[in-house]
Protein backbone atom coordinates (compact mmCIF):
# COMPACT_ATOMS: atom_id res chain seq x y z
CA UNK A 1 0.00 0.00 0.00
CA UNK A 2 1.58 3.20 -1.13
CA UNK A 3 0.35 6.69 -0.44
CA UNK A 4 -1.55 6.74 -3.73
CA UNK A 5 -3.41 3.58 -2.73
CA UNK A 6 -4.43 5.03 0.61
CA UNK A 7 -5.62 8.21 -1.06
CA UNK A 8 -7.55 6.26 -3.68
CA UNK A 9 -9.17 4.10 -1.01
CA UNK A 10 -10.22 7.10 1.06
CA UNK A 11 -11.55 9.06 -1.90
CA UNK A 12 -13.28 6.00 -3.27
CA UNK A 13 -14.98 5.42 0.08
CA UNK A 14 -16.15 9.04 0.09
CA UNK A 15 -17.41 8.73 -3.50
CA UNK A 16 -19.30 5.49 -2.92
CA UNK A 17 -20.69 6.65 0.42
CA UNK A 18 -22.02 9.92 -0.95
CA UNK A 19 -23.28 8.03 -4.01
CA UNK A 20 -25.33 5.84 -1.69
CA UNK A 21 -26.72 8.98 -0.08
CA UNK A 22 -27.57 10.45 -3.51
CA UNK A 23 -29.79 7.51 -4.37
CA UNK A 24 -31.13 6.99 -0.85
CA UNK A 25 -31.77 10.40 0.70
CA UNK A 26 -35.29 11.71 1.03
CA UNK A 27 -34.32 15.36 0.63
CA UNK A 28 -34.15 16.51 -2.97
CA UNK A 29 -31.72 19.35 -2.38
CA UNK A 30 -29.47 17.19 -0.24
CA UNK A 31 -29.26 14.66 -3.07
CA UNK A 32 -27.76 17.41 -5.23
CA UNK A 33 -25.30 18.41 -2.53
CA UNK A 34 -24.23 14.80 -1.95
CA UNK A 35 -23.72 14.61 -5.71
CA UNK A 36 -21.28 17.52 -5.38
CA UNK A 37 -19.38 15.55 -2.74
CA UNK A 38 -19.33 12.43 -4.90
CA UNK A 39 -18.12 14.29 -7.99
CA UNK A 40 -15.50 16.15 -5.97
CA UNK A 41 -14.14 12.89 -4.58
CA UNK A 42 -14.00 11.55 -8.12
CA UNK A 43 -12.05 14.63 -9.19
CA UNK A 44 -9.61 13.87 -6.39
CA UNK A 45 -9.26 10.32 -7.67
CA UNK A 46 -8.50 11.67 -11.14
CA UNK A 47 -5.78 13.82 -9.61
CA UNK A 48 -4.24 10.82 -7.88
CA UNK A 49 -4.46 8.90 -11.15
CA UNK A 50 -2.40 11.75 -12.72
CA UNK A 51 -5.27 12.96 -14.92
CA UNK A 52 -4.85 16.62 -14.10
CA UNK A 53 -6.81 18.15 -16.93
CA UNK A 54 -9.72 15.74 -16.56
CA UNK A 55 -9.85 16.51 -12.84
CA UNK A 56 -10.10 20.24 -13.36
CA UNK A 57 -12.59 19.86 -16.19
CA UNK A 58 -14.62 17.64 -13.88
CA UNK A 59 -14.62 20.33 -11.21
CA UNK A 60 -15.48 23.04 -13.72
CA UNK A 61 -18.20 21.31 -15.70
CA UNK A 62 -19.71 18.79 -13.31
CA UNK A 63 -19.46 20.49 -9.96
CA UNK A 64 -19.72 23.95 -11.43
CA UNK A 65 -22.31 23.62 -14.17
CA UNK A 66 -24.17 20.31 -14.10
CA UNK A 67 -24.96 20.29 -10.41
CA UNK A 68 -26.00 23.94 -10.51
CA UNK A 69 -28.35 23.09 -13.39
CA UNK A 70 -29.74 20.17 -11.42
CA UNK A 71 -30.32 22.37 -8.39
CA UNK A 72 -32.02 24.94 -10.61
CA UNK A 73 -34.31 22.19 -11.87
CA UNK A 74 -35.04 21.15 -8.29
CA UNK A 75 -36.02 24.72 -7.46
CA UNK A 76 -38.01 25.26 -10.67
CA UNK A 77 -40.10 22.16 -10.17
CA UNK A 78 -41.09 23.52 -6.75
CA UNK A 79 -39.62 20.67 -4.82
CA UNK A 80 -40.43 20.58 -1.13
CA UNK A 81 -37.60 21.73 1.09
CA UNK A 82 -38.05 19.09 3.76
CA UNK A 83 -38.13 15.36 3.45
CA UNK A 84 -40.61 13.96 0.99
CA UNK A 85 -41.95 10.44 1.07
CA UNK A 86 -42.97 10.02 -2.54
CA UNK A 87 -39.52 10.06 -4.10
CA UNK A 88 -39.15 6.32 -4.38
CA UNK A 89 -40.94 3.48 -5.99
CA UNK A 90 -41.10 0.27 -4.01
CA UNK A 91 -38.02 -1.24 -5.49
CA UNK A 92 -36.69 -4.62 -4.52
CA UNK A 93 -36.26 -5.21 -8.27
CA UNK A 94 -34.18 -2.02 -8.50
CA UNK A 95 -32.03 -3.19 -5.58
CA UNK A 96 -31.63 -6.57 -7.20
CA UNK A 97 -30.64 -5.21 -10.61
CA UNK A 98 -28.47 -2.40 -9.28
CA UNK A 99 -26.74 -4.55 -6.71
CA UNK A 100 -26.27 -7.33 -9.22
CA UNK A 101 -24.76 -4.95 -11.75
CA UNK A 102 -22.44 -3.26 -9.28
CA UNK A 103 -21.27 -6.36 -7.46
CA UNK A 104 -21.01 -8.38 -10.67
CA UNK A 105 -18.84 -5.75 -12.33
CA UNK A 106 -16.77 -5.43 -9.16
CA UNK A 107 -16.21 -9.19 -9.01
CA UNK A 108 -15.25 -9.22 -12.67
CA UNK A 109 -12.72 -6.40 -12.24
CA UNK A 110 -11.29 -7.86 -9.03
CA UNK A 111 -10.84 -11.17 -10.80
CA UNK A 112 -9.16 -9.42 -13.73
CA UNK A 113 -6.72 -7.25 -11.78
CA UNK A 114 -6.25 -9.02 -8.42
CA UNK A 115 -3.79 -7.02 -6.33
CA UNK A 116 -1.35 -6.12 -9.06
CA UNK A 117 0.43 -2.80 -9.03
CA UNK A 118 1.22 -0.62 -12.01
CA UNK A 119 3.48 2.33 -12.45
CA UNK A 120 1.66 5.60 -12.99
CA UNK A 121 2.42 7.02 -16.45
CA UNK A 122 3.22 10.60 -17.36
CA UNK A 123 0.72 13.06 -15.99
CA UNK A 124 -2.11 14.00 -18.33
CA UNK A 125 -1.39 17.69 -18.38
CA UNK A 126 -3.26 20.11 -20.59
CA UNK A 127 -0.29 20.22 -22.96
CA UNK A 128 -0.16 16.47 -23.54
CA UNK A 129 -3.93 16.05 -23.75
CA UNK A 130 -4.28 19.00 -26.08
CA UNK A 131 -1.59 17.51 -28.26
CA UNK A 132 -3.53 14.25 -28.43
CA UNK A 133 -6.92 15.86 -28.97
CA UNK A 134 -5.83 18.12 -31.77
CA UNK A 135 -3.57 15.55 -33.41
CA UNK A 136 -5.28 12.17 -33.14
CA UNK A 137 -8.83 12.93 -32.08
CA UNK A 138 -9.55 16.11 -33.95
CA UNK A 139 -12.46 14.71 -35.98
CA UNK A 140 -14.42 13.47 -32.92
CA UNK A 141 -13.67 16.79 -31.28
CA UNK A 142 -15.23 18.72 -34.14
CA UNK A 143 -18.22 16.37 -34.30
CA UNK A 144 -18.68 16.98 -30.59
CA UNK A 145 -18.95 20.70 -31.18
CA UNK A 146 -21.75 20.07 -33.68
CA UNK A 147 -23.46 17.86 -31.11
CA UNK A 148 -23.23 20.58 -28.48
CA UNK A 149 -24.81 23.04 -30.87
CA UNK A 150 -27.59 20.57 -31.65
CA UNK A 151 -28.23 19.99 -27.96
CA UNK A 152 -28.34 23.74 -27.35
CA UNK A 153 -30.86 24.33 -30.12
CA UNK A 154 -32.88 21.32 -29.03
CA UNK A 155 -33.06 22.49 -25.43
CA UNK A 156 -34.24 25.93 -26.55
CA UNK A 157 -36.88 24.48 -28.87
CA UNK A 158 -38.17 22.15 -26.18
CA UNK A 159 -38.35 24.75 -23.45
CA UNK A 160 -40.00 27.52 -25.48
CA UNK A 161 -43.73 26.85 -25.66
CA UNK A 162 -44.34 29.38 -28.43
CA UNK A 163 -42.36 27.42 -31.00
CA UNK A 164 -44.39 24.92 -32.97
CA UNK A 165 -47.76 26.09 -31.69
CA UNK A 166 -50.45 26.72 -34.34
CA UNK A 167 -51.41 30.27 -35.11
CA UNK A 168 -54.99 30.09 -33.86
CA UNK A 169 -54.56 29.01 -30.27
CA UNK A 170 -57.91 28.45 -28.66
CA UNK A 171 -56.49 28.17 -25.20
CA UNK A 172 -56.99 24.46 -25.03
CA UNK A 173 -54.21 21.96 -25.09
CA UNK A 174 -55.74 19.77 -27.74
CA UNK A 175 -54.38 21.53 -30.86
CA UNK A 176 -50.99 21.81 -29.26
CA UNK A 177 -50.89 18.08 -28.63
CA UNK A 178 -51.97 17.37 -32.19
CA UNK A 179 -49.33 19.71 -33.51
CA UNK A 180 -46.68 18.02 -31.41
CA UNK A 181 -47.57 14.56 -32.57
CA UNK A 182 -47.65 15.61 -36.21
CA UNK A 183 -44.28 17.24 -35.72
CA UNK A 184 -42.94 14.02 -34.30
CA UNK A 185 -44.19 12.14 -37.32
CA UNK A 186 -42.72 14.55 -39.82
CA UNK A 187 -39.35 14.32 -38.14
Amino acid sequence: MTGADVLLLALGAVAVGSGVLVVATRHLVRAGLYLVLCLGALAGMYLVLTAELVAWVQVLIYVGAVVVLLLFAVMLTRAPIGASDDLDRPGWAAALIGGGTGLGLAALLVDAYRWTAVELPDAGTAERLGDQIFRSWVLPFEVLSVLLLAALVGAIVISRPDIGRPKADQGSDRPRADQRSSEGRSR
Binding site: T2, A31, T50, A51, V66, A106, V118, P121, L147, I158
Partner: protein
Protein backbone atom coordinates in the same frame (compact mmCIF):
# COMPACT_ATOMS: atom_id res chain seq x y z
CA UNK B 1 -0.84 2.17 -7.62
CA UNK B 2 -3.26 -0.74 -7.37
CA UNK B 3 -5.73 -0.31 -10.24
CA UNK B 4 -8.26 -2.58 -8.57
CA UNK B 5 -9.24 0.17 -6.12
CA UNK B 6 -10.57 2.72 -8.64
CA UNK B 7 -12.01 -0.08 -10.77
CA UNK B 8 -14.07 -1.46 -7.89
CA UNK B 9 -15.13 2.06 -6.92
CA UNK B 10 -16.35 2.66 -10.45
CA UNK B 11 -18.24 -0.65 -10.54
CA UNK B 12 -20.00 0.15 -7.27
CA UNK B 13 -20.85 3.67 -8.45
CA UNK B 14 -22.32 2.25 -11.65
CA UNK B 15 -24.44 -0.17 -9.65
CA UNK B 16 -25.65 2.71 -7.50
CA UNK B 17 -26.56 4.66 -10.60
CA UNK B 18 -28.56 1.73 -12.01
CA UNK B 19 -30.33 1.37 -8.67
CA UNK B 20 -31.13 5.09 -8.58
CA UNK B 21 -32.52 5.17 -12.11
CA UNK B 22 -34.79 2.22 -11.39
CA UNK B 23 -35.79 3.30 -7.91
CA UNK B 24 -36.39 7.04 -8.06
CA UNK B 25 -39.67 8.56 -9.13
CA UNK B 26 -38.56 12.19 -9.40
CA UNK B 27 -37.15 12.90 -12.85
CA UNK B 28 -34.42 15.20 -11.49
CA UNK B 29 -33.22 12.44 -9.19
CA UNK B 30 -33.22 10.04 -12.13
CA UNK B 31 -30.93 12.47 -13.96
CA UNK B 32 -28.64 12.60 -10.92
CA UNK B 33 -28.40 8.80 -10.97
CA UNK B 34 -27.54 8.94 -14.66
CA UNK B 35 -24.73 11.34 -13.75
CA UNK B 36 -23.44 8.75 -11.28
CA UNK B 37 -23.32 6.14 -14.03
CA UNK B 38 -21.53 8.49 -16.44
CA UNK B 39 -18.97 9.30 -13.78
CA UNK B 40 -18.37 5.63 -13.11
CA UNK B 41 -17.59 5.16 -16.79
CA UNK B 42 -15.28 8.16 -16.66
CA UNK B 43 -13.40 6.66 -13.74
CA UNK B 44 -13.01 3.39 -15.64
CA UNK B 45 -11.65 5.28 -18.65
CA UNK B 46 -9.15 7.29 -16.63
CA UNK B 47 -7.97 4.22 -14.72
CA UNK B 48 -7.63 2.21 -17.91
CA UNK B 49 -5.52 5.04 -19.26
CA UNK B 50 -2.99 4.40 -16.50
CA UNK B 51 -3.01 0.60 -16.70
CA UNK B 52 -3.18 -0.07 -20.43
CA UNK B 53 -0.23 0.95 -22.53
CA UNK B 54 -1.89 1.97 -25.76
CA UNK B 55 -0.25 3.09 -28.94
CA UNK B 56 -1.77 6.55 -28.61
CA UNK B 57 -0.99 7.90 -25.15
CA UNK B 58 -3.77 9.34 -22.98
CA UNK B 59 -6.58 8.01 -25.12
CA UNK B 60 -8.63 7.16 -22.06
CA UNK B 61 -8.39 10.65 -20.65
CA UNK B 62 -9.41 12.13 -24.00
CA UNK B 63 -12.42 9.81 -24.00
CA UNK B 64 -13.23 10.91 -20.46
CA UNK B 65 -13.24 14.53 -21.62
CA UNK B 66 -15.58 13.59 -24.46
CA UNK B 67 -17.91 11.81 -22.04
CA UNK B 68 -17.96 14.90 -19.81
CA UNK B 69 -19.03 17.04 -22.77
CA UNK B 70 -21.68 14.50 -23.73
CA UNK B 71 -22.97 14.54 -20.16
CA UNK B 72 -23.24 18.32 -20.24
CA UNK B 73 -25.29 18.14 -23.46
CA UNK B 74 -27.43 15.37 -22.01
CA UNK B 75 -28.18 17.27 -18.85
CA UNK B 76 -29.15 20.37 -20.83
CA UNK B 77 -31.68 18.57 -23.02
CA UNK B 78 -32.84 16.37 -20.14
CA UNK B 79 -33.60 19.31 -17.89
CA UNK B 80 -35.42 21.09 -20.70
CA UNK B 81 -37.62 18.00 -21.09
CA UNK B 82 -38.16 17.78 -17.33
CA UNK B 83 -39.18 21.43 -17.07
CA UNK B 84 -41.54 21.06 -20.02
CA UNK B 85 -43.05 18.01 -18.34
CA UNK B 86 -43.53 20.02 -15.17
CA UNK B 87 -45.18 22.80 -17.15
CA UNK B 88 -47.63 20.38 -18.75
CA UNK B 89 -48.42 18.20 -15.76
CA UNK B 90 -47.16 20.10 -12.70
CA UNK B 91 -45.45 16.93 -11.59
CA UNK B 92 -42.11 15.37 -12.42
CA UNK B 93 -42.84 11.82 -11.31
CA UNK B 94 -41.66 9.57 -14.09
CA UNK B 95 -44.21 6.83 -13.47
CA UNK B 96 -47.11 9.21 -13.97
CA UNK B 97 -46.17 9.90 -17.59
CA UNK B 98 -48.56 8.12 -19.91
CA UNK B 99 -46.66 6.01 -22.39
CA UNK B 100 -49.58 5.83 -24.82
CA UNK B 101 -49.63 9.57 -25.38
CA UNK B 102 -48.50 11.17 -28.62
CA UNK B 103 -49.36 8.29 -30.89
CA UNK B 104 -50.41 9.49 -34.35
CA UNK B 105 -53.95 8.08 -34.04
CA UNK B 106 -55.29 9.99 -31.05
CA UNK B 107 -54.19 11.46 -27.77
CA UNK B 108 -56.95 10.52 -25.34
CA UNK B 109 -55.23 11.28 -22.04
CA UNK B 110 -53.82 14.73 -22.62
CA UNK B 111 -56.91 17.00 -22.50
CA UNK B 112 -58.46 15.32 -19.50
CA UNK B 113 -55.21 15.43 -17.62
CA UNK B 114 -54.21 19.00 -18.28
CA UNK B 115 -57.64 20.44 -17.80
CA UNK B 116 -57.97 19.10 -14.29
CA UNK B 117 -55.26 21.52 -13.19
CA UNK B 118 -53.00 21.02 -10.22
CA UNK B 119 -54.56 17.79 -9.05
CA UNK B 120 -53.91 16.00 -12.29
CA UNK B 121 -51.42 13.66 -10.70
CA UNK B 122 -54.32 11.86 -9.06
CA UNK B 123 -55.98 11.37 -12.42
CA UNK B 124 -52.88 9.79 -13.82
CA UNK B 125 -52.38 7.71 -10.75
CA UNK B 126 -55.79 6.14 -10.88
CA UNK B 127 -55.54 5.19 -14.51
CA UNK B 128 -55.05 1.45 -14.85
CA UNK B 129 -51.68 0.47 -16.12
CA UNK B 130 -49.82 3.54 -14.97
CA UNK B 131 -48.93 2.20 -11.56
CA UNK B 132 -48.69 -1.56 -11.79
CA UNK B 133 -46.74 -1.65 -14.99
CA UNK B 134 -43.99 -4.24 -14.86
CA UNK B 135 -40.50 -2.89 -14.33
CA UNK B 136 -39.24 -3.96 -17.71
CA UNK B 137 -41.44 -1.56 -19.60
CA UNK B 138 -39.77 1.54 -18.30
Amino acid sequence: MRPVIPYVTAALLFGLGVYGVLRRRNAVLVLMAVELMLNAVNLILVTADTTVRAQLPHGGQVFALFVIVLAAAEIGVGLAIVLQLYRLRSTVAVDEVALTEGRPTDSPVEPALTRSGAGNGAGARTRPGSVDRPEGER
